[in-house]
Symmetry: C2
Amino acid sequence: MSVDDYLESARDRDWEELESGTLRLAMIGLGWWTRKQAIPAVEASEFCETTVAVSSTHESGAELVSERESIETALTYDEFVDGEATDEYDAVYVCTPNARHLPYAAAAAEHGKAILCEKPMEATVERAEELVSETEDVPLMIAYRMQMDPLVRRMRELVAEGAVGDPVTVQGHIEQQMLDVVSGDPDQWRLDPELAGYGATIMDIGIYPLNTARFVLDADPVSVTAQMHSEDEAFRDVPDQHAAFTVQFDDGTYAACTSSQHGTSSGSLRVVGTDGVLTLENTFLGQSPQTLTLTKPNGETVEIDDGRRDLFGDQMTEEFDYFADRVVRGESVAPDGEHGLVDMRAIAAIHEAAETGAEVSVE
Amino acid sequence: MSVDDYLESARDRDWEELESGTLRLAMIGLGWWTRKQAIPAVEASEFCETTVAVSSTHESGAELVSERESIETALTYDEFVDGEATDEYDAVYVCTPNARHLPYAAAAAEHGKAILCEKPMEATVERAEELVSETEDVPLMIAYRMQMDPLVRRMRELVAEGAVGDPVTVQGHIEQQMLDVVSGDPDQWRLDPELAGYGATIMDIGIYPLNTARFVLDADPVSVTAQMHSEDEAFRDVPDQHAAFTVQFDDGTYAACTSSQHGTSSGSLRVVGTDGVLTLENTFLGQSPQTLTLTKPNGETVEIDDGRRDLFGDQMTEEFDYFADRVVRGESVAPDGEHGLVDMRAIAAIHEAAETGAEVSVE
């Protein structure tokens, strides 16, 4: 495929097979991401609708029932676990604190529902493994929205087709002001190791360059090194307000990444190969323009900005429609639980590497 | 200073005090860099001229004497060390294999000549320390051309003035196809640990993001982690055909860097701070346009391309003129030997970190 063809087809869905159909979703957890991004993205989707809202109280969900036409039922977590209204939804989107993914995913599996579970899968490797084993009878997809981003998918295709020769190095970074962007509350769950897991930064955002590099390279991490520390009072209980890490992948490629929950929102991913360089700017945080640039050794450069400006919304709509396309057709989903476990093991290794000052294998 | 002022003054010399004067240079080592970059850069300079050419044979230098008007004398290394023609030059530019910097710098010091010595300073920390002690009676400057690059200097000023708030993370990378760019000869000195020192990649090019990050942050490295390996036959004697490393600086900032001698020529440096992001694209390898972009948290972006297209030449001319400006006026030079020693110790630490799989302090 020529670069011109890529430009023209940059927004095409390379996976859609469904012509019609609807997957009815229960939203588990009604925090800012579910309300501001996921529910509107489902409304913009072709194959999904939100019918049930699940939260700690009826009140949170009731507000959505009155606001959103498709949402008819509000449940508490306990009612959801107990199997109420199971005929009103076909699948669940789990977007709770990390350490609550396991019980709600397990309950969804018990009700025979397909699961789209937010990243990171759970708070620890052990709990994530348990999540996979508890849900083995239903489709389980981990919500890596970057994997459904059209330009990330083009980047992966270009790498697979040899557009940069053999990949050699990857540079990735993601920073944000979490206390400004997500919540200014220092008591939020992302800063509570019991609910968040290994830490606040790698688990929440460092996972983006890690997983997106895996996806783009089609390779898995084998070993890591890392440095991290926290300095501000709000981050006193977590080790990784700021972090840097390196990853060696099983194809030999090295990635060097930084991540911080106390930096200006920014993120990019670059692959340097033996025969070209691919750079995706504004990769992770919904910033636009998101531009994909291919530079060849002779300096020739092609830049693709596919015109999208609501990237969070677009990525989430793509993700929900893809999930529905697979589930409604009865096809297996990806990225699946086994894929997500690799990130959980890599993140545990990154934290161990920083704590021990040793290179750690991802096992 | 406003961003508009920066745009207008981007190419101004913020150091020039000399109105007239000439520093006569002996070029020590006549490899591709000296011939293709250094000698033309001196010809384009205001305050330098090359008068003496020193190499292993008279023939190499004699060719330059016939080609270049200002060059009148060709010496062998031995003749130079023995003190021939010392009245024909005021200073030396040492651009030999790394492990030859010490004897020629020491000889220059013995002759009372100022020294501009290429990076890395020497093959090992011990030899670099010896170089500093042998040259303590003359000006010694390490030829970090990035420190004289106008946009790198603006980047440093912007960081110092708080344009990005407090720096949090740095991303740097440099890759090139050494066997294509420098020499295809697998027996070249850069692949010989005796002559190159710790390795082929960090010593030769990984030093660029390391040193430029130091300069831009005005901070020094305190600890490092690293991964590296060689895969191609030409790199069998060195450990670092490809490498990734992290650096913690004494202000707490983390840098994550990659470097490879077998990747498409590319390089960039980015500083993410609490209140903005500074990105310098095409930073290190003379590629153009070299653009400096400041992005503020509200998304406002200012991009500076100062129009230079011969970056190697421009950086080297700036470096030689700066060196002359300082030496002719009898002022101390910077970056000096003590500055260079910090990189030598950091590079030794990076190699030790990769070899042992442990985080290593820079001491």
